[in-house]
């Protein structure tokens, strides 16, 4: 019977791998096409808001200019509204939407900018019929809603709709993908059930129960949440639900299969240990999934994230400081990131610091901030990075720096400064290399990967061996040798997945994070509000970069860092933090044009 069960599980790797790659490839392709389509449409003008101006020739000819959530006005080609005149600077003024209100500010302190004949030095709010003087050009800000109300007309039938229309994006069809995803879960779920050793028989019920709860929750959410949240993005939900389900299956395999009982333990102790281990890991995954609608609800319907900006500003360095003072684990893992809690639990505050960091980052770059604000952010971020270096948590650094760089470059379009940050980042890594022996060792291990096995690269080598053994379809759940890989269930979990489920499933994981970024980028381009846009971008980029850094590290493409694969790797703090981030990302993507105005 046991042999038959193993055989069935062994064969299950074929449908698992094929479903995984087909499902993710289809969704990735659809998401890419959808994003390219949005690019083709170029931009969505803010519905019902625009500027009107006489042409330079004068007379009755009136031109109207659409507004976007951030609009640059100037004489340069890169301006969103290009006005050619000697009195207008290359980049003259910025109009932006913030918390449902329109603001204008000069792009540079030397330019002449007037709002209703009053010089504008700092951001000023604009209202319907306000006169804006940019150099020698005068423009009128039109708020179609107010204008329609004043004239007793229905806004929806106004000229704004007629002229610009709405980009109505049809949601991607995901029914078949969800079916495949559910099938993947059920096959993996049953495959692990079949290989749980008979002497752990009682734990099978626990396994069935916990994974069953997860499955039911995920099904309900797929069908119900779109009814509650108008713009609920099922594609991004499938990507994360798939990754989380895969994580749960592989963690269950770690929990139950191929465990070795310490010689001095009784059977009861051993079973209790395994049970508790699994309850914690599955429990946090279920908890994360359970709170998803609440997080989405809060993020979509309230300005909670905007309101906690100052708290995050202070909390981020505090979380790093607390870890620096109270953290432990340097001897085992090279960094002191764990804080011991009563009851034998430990907490990684740095996982939550990443969230608060991203909120602050998004808030700073919700508009194109002036140099002074940028410098302020640089000081704040620099302080945090120093703390991260002291931990030392190079993994966080390798993820947060690129995310900062990408959000900065996208939201400001200041490419020279981006290059400067890039050079700065490289300098930080060079300094880390020079100052920290642990970084030097990691780099040495990576450089000697193909020539020798040493203490600094054996983890990657054993991981790569596992990937090599796994080939295309894997060796079957429970058939691999994760015990030979240090930190197999956390840092190196990708290698184990590739060994037991095949490289196709490994590629599918990468595609999931590509999907989440593509959908995030789509939403970032769609929403009207700068903060929402930049935080979506930050979160989606974070997931992708973290997955890329971890996977590239475990496969020897880049030096390995201490980061873990989101939603898959073992670790309670990381799992909860990642589910919060998923909730935030989905919630932000749910915010629509109207929602942003509220």
């Amino acid at each position: 019977m046991q042999i038959l069960s193993s055989y069935i599980t062994y064969l299950a790797r074929y449908p698992l791998a094929i479903i995984a790659i087909v499902l993710t490839a289809v969704l990735a392709w659809k998401s890419l096409r959808s994003l390219l389509n949005r690019f083709r449409q170029h931009t969505t003008p803010a519905h019902g808001f625009f500027l009107m101006s006489q042409t330079p020739a004068g007379g009755d000819i009136v031109e109207s200019y659409p507004l976007f959530h951030t609009t640059a006005i100037g004489s340069s080609r890169s301006s969103d509204i290009r006005l050619i005149s000697k009195s207008i600077a290359g980049r003259h003024a910025i109009i932006y939407l913030h918390e449902g209100k329109w603001f204008i500010r000069p792009a540079d302190s030397n330019v002449d900018l007037y709002l209703n004949d009053r010089k504008v030095n700092n951001p000023r709010r604009m209202k319907n019929q306000d006169l804006i003087q940019i150099g020698d050009r005068v423009m009128v800000f039109v708020d179609e809603r107010v204008a329609a109300e004043l004239s007793g007309q229905d806004f929806e039938g106004s000229i704004a709709d007629w002229q610009y229309g709405r980009i109505t994006e049809r949601p991607l069809k995901t029914g078949f993908s969800w079916l495949l995803s559910s099938l993947f879960f059920l096959i993996g779920y049953l495959a692990v059930l079949l290989i749980i050793p008979s002497d752990l028989g009682n734990l099978r019920l626990l396994y069935l129960l916990l994974l069953g709860i997860f499955f039911v929750f995920s099904q309900i959410y797929y069908y119900v949440l779109p009814l509650v949240f108008e713009n609920f993005d099922r594609t991004i939900y499938i990507a994360f639900a798939f990754v989380a389900a895969l994580g749960l299956i592989i963690q269950a395999r770690f929990a139950f299969v191929d465990r070795i009982k310490p010689l001095d333990w009784s059977d009861a102790d051993f079973i209790r240990y395994i049970r508790n281990d699994f309850i914690v890991q599955a429990g946090v995954a279920i908890f994360g999934l359970a709170i998803l609608p609440i997080v989405v609800l809060i993020i979509q319907r309230t300005r909670f994230l905007e309101k906690i900006y100052y708290v995050c500003l202070v909390l981020t360095p505090l979380l790093y400081l607390a870890t620096l003072v109270l953290g432990r684990g340097a001897a085992e893992w090279g960094a002191s990131l764990w804080i011991t809690l009563p009851g034998g639990f430990s907490l990684q505050l740095t996982e939550f610091a990443k969230i608060t960091y991203l909120i602050v980052l998004a808030n700073f770059f919700k508009i194109r901030p002036p140099l002074k604000t940028q410098l302020l952010f640089a000081v704040w971020a620099g302080f945090n990075f120093i703390l991260i270096m002291l931990l030392p948590d190079l993994g966080s650094m390798m993820i947060l720096l690129p995310v900062t760089l990408i959000v900065f470059s996208v939201m400001t379009s200041e490419y020279l400064k981006t290059a400067g940050i890039l050079i700065g980042g490289a300098a930080i890594f060079f300094a880390a290399y020079k100052l920290l022996p642990y970084v030097q060792n990691r780099l040495y291990g990576w450089l000697t990967l193909w020539t020798e096995t040493n203490a600094f690269n054996e983890q990657i080598i054993y991981g790569l061996q596992a990937i090599a053994r796994g080939s295309i379809f894997g060796r079957g759940l429970g058939v691999g040798n994760p015990r030979s890989i240090p930190l197999a269930s956390s840092d190196m979990v990708f290698s184990v997945i590739c060994e037991e489920m095949g490289i196709l499933v490994g590629l599918a994981i990468i595609l999931c994070f590509i999907i989440s970024w593509l959908r995030g980028a789509n939403a970032a381009a769609k929403v009207r509000d700068g903060f929402t846009s930049s935080l979506i971008l930050a979160l989606a980029t974070y997931f992708f970069i973290e997955a890329a850094v971890v996977i590239a590290g475990t496969t020897g493409l880049i030096p390995l860092t201490g980061a873990t694969l989101p939603l898959i790797a073992k670790g309670g703090s990381s799992m909860i933090a990642k589910w919060l981030m998923v909730g935030m990302l989905i919630g932000l993507c749910c915010r629509n044009e109207e929602g942003a105005y509220r």
């Binding site: 193909w450 790569l464 090599a468 490289i503 890329a548």
Partner: protein, 472 residues
């Protein structure tokens, strides 16, 4: 917004590049790991023991078990002498020795790493989790004989089939028993080093085969060329004074006699006449400076590196004794390949060790395809060199390898090197072949630290291979 879109497009492009780098990179890393990392050492021994506990069998070509799994244990050849003679080739499940069949073909032995279609066929017939057996080209009798011939000496004997490239015998001494390797006890110095495929020795006079071929390709080549040998030193550069060795001199000498007596003066002279460019070119035609993979095992051909237009250095290079910054090395396998190419009309076959795999169904499959490793550009005068080598066995210094009734060609060599104690010592070398379509075998022998009768050893091992009357 235009700029936001433009920036997003740039980032999308960047992400697409990163994604492709990741997706393609992982597939390439997997492929590279399958080739290079499966035998890495220091892995958890208990895990390795469990992984190999049901692995396939490694057979010699005469179907003697060289490694097999039984009752959850990984075992090696039942004859302990055979087990030790094969230890650097077969390896052990702990991967304490690198570059071995156990390590490099780990995936096949445990039932992975096959093509998708094959794996599907095995999986759906209930055999997917069974590993493949591997049949090697080596013969157990020949291996045992080579082991006894080497005795306590440090050295190597390699025999190949020069028509196919199959390696019939590959023994490197000192060696030790697999159990010692697994438990890491009682391991003599350098006993885990596979001299046969990884050794790098100065070829000494065996290199005169290559010099002779280079000379036949030279514009100055004259088959009747003779010169006056004044002593044993090579001819030095233009204007140099050579010492007259009196009775040690060979006097007026042509190529055939030069092979018989291994005249350094003659080969130094024709090396200079041939010129450094053609000498290098011919060396590379013989596979020098070329990477060599024996299936998944990493082998070594020789290295040839010589300063341009330095006749003094070139004359020494031509007799197989590199000096100053020049480099010239061969492995025992490469020695066998060199004389094999002479016997095989200038065609050097790719050496291989895996004859075929045996599927879980019990069928032979994936036989190694025979390929050419290197080929001489001009084979017009190769018969002259071949006949000179046969005559060197029949009448010259390689007489010890003579086997009545067979045309054996061969060339001896001695080369000075620094031994493990830091002392200057001489290595004895031999390369030779049987010129017989029914016995197309060539041999490479190196014995370190002394003047050994390598022709006699060659004669003995070649007589054994003839006696075995092996099918090929």
């Amino acid at each position: 917004m235009k700029q936001l879109m433009r920036s997003l497009k740039s980032i999308l492009l960047f992400f697409i590049i990163i994604s492709l780098f990741l997706l393609v990179g992982i597939v390439l890393q997997q492929n590279k790991s399958q080739r290079l990392l499966l035998q890495s050492s220091n892995e958890n021994k208990a895990v390795l023991h469990s992984r190999y506990s049901n692995a396939g069998t490694i057979w010699s070509s005469d179907m003697v078990r060289l490694a097999y799994s039984k009752d959850g244990e990984r075992l090696y050849a039942e004859n302990p002498e055979l087990a030790r003679a094969m230890v650097q080739t077969i390896g052990d499940y702990t991967h304490n020795i690198g570059n071995t069949v156990e390590g490099a073909y780990q995936d096949r032995l445990i039932g992975a790493g096959r093509s998708v279609i094959q794996q599907l066929a095995f999986d759906f017939t209930g055999n997917g989790m069974t590993g493949d057996d591997i049949i090697l080209t080596v013969n157990s009798d020949l291996t045992l004989h080579a082991q006894s011939l080497l005795g306590d000496a440090n050295g190597s004997i390699v025999i190949i089939n020069y028509k196919t490239g199959a390696i019939l015998c590959m023994v490197s001494t000192p060696n030790t028993y697999p159990d010692n390797v697994i438990t890491w006890t009682d391991i003599p110095e350098s006993s885990l080093f596979n001299r046969s495929i990884s050794g790098a020795y100065s070829p000494g006079s065996t290199y005169k085969i290559v010099t002779g071929i280079a000379w036949t390709e030279s514009e100055q080549y004259d088959p009747n060329y003779t010169m006056y040998c004044k002593g044993q030193e090579p001819l030095l550069g233009q204007g140099s004074v050579t010492e007259d060795r009196g009775e040690d001199a060979h006097g007026e000498i042509g190529m055939q006699t030069a092979y018989h007596v291994s005249c350094n003066h003659f080969f130094g002279d024709i090396g200079i006449k041939t010129g450094s460019e053609l000498m290098l070119d011919t060396a590379e035609q013989f596979g020098f400076n070329k990477s060599l993979l024996i299936g998944r095992l990493i082998g070594k051909t020789g290295t040839y590196k010589a300063a341009d237009n330095d006749q003094y250095l070139l004359s020494w290079q031509s007799i197989g004794q590199p000096i100053d910054q020049n480099e010239l090395t061969v492995s025992p396998l490469h020695l066998a390949m060199i004389s094999g190419a002479i016997a095989n009309q200038g065609v050097m076959m790719q050496p291989y060790l895996i004859k075929n795999f045996i599927s879980p169904f019990g069928k032979n499959y994936e036989s190694t395809k025979q390929e050419v490793f290197s080929q001489l550009d001009s084979t017009a005068d190769i018969e002259i060199i071949k006949n000179n080598l046969i005559s060197t066995v029949e009448q010259g210094r390689a007489y010890g390898s003579y086997i009545p009734g067979y045309a054996i060609g061969g060339k001896t060599g001695t080369a000075e090197s620094i031994n493990n104690d830091g002392e200057l010592a001489s290595n004895s070398l031999y390369t030779g072949f049987i010129d017989d379509p029914g016995n197309p075998y060539s041999v490479g022998i190196v014995i370190e630290n002394g003047f050994y009768d390598t022709p006699a050893i060659a004669g003995s091992i070649l007589a054994k291979v003839i006696e075995l009357n092996l099918p090929y």
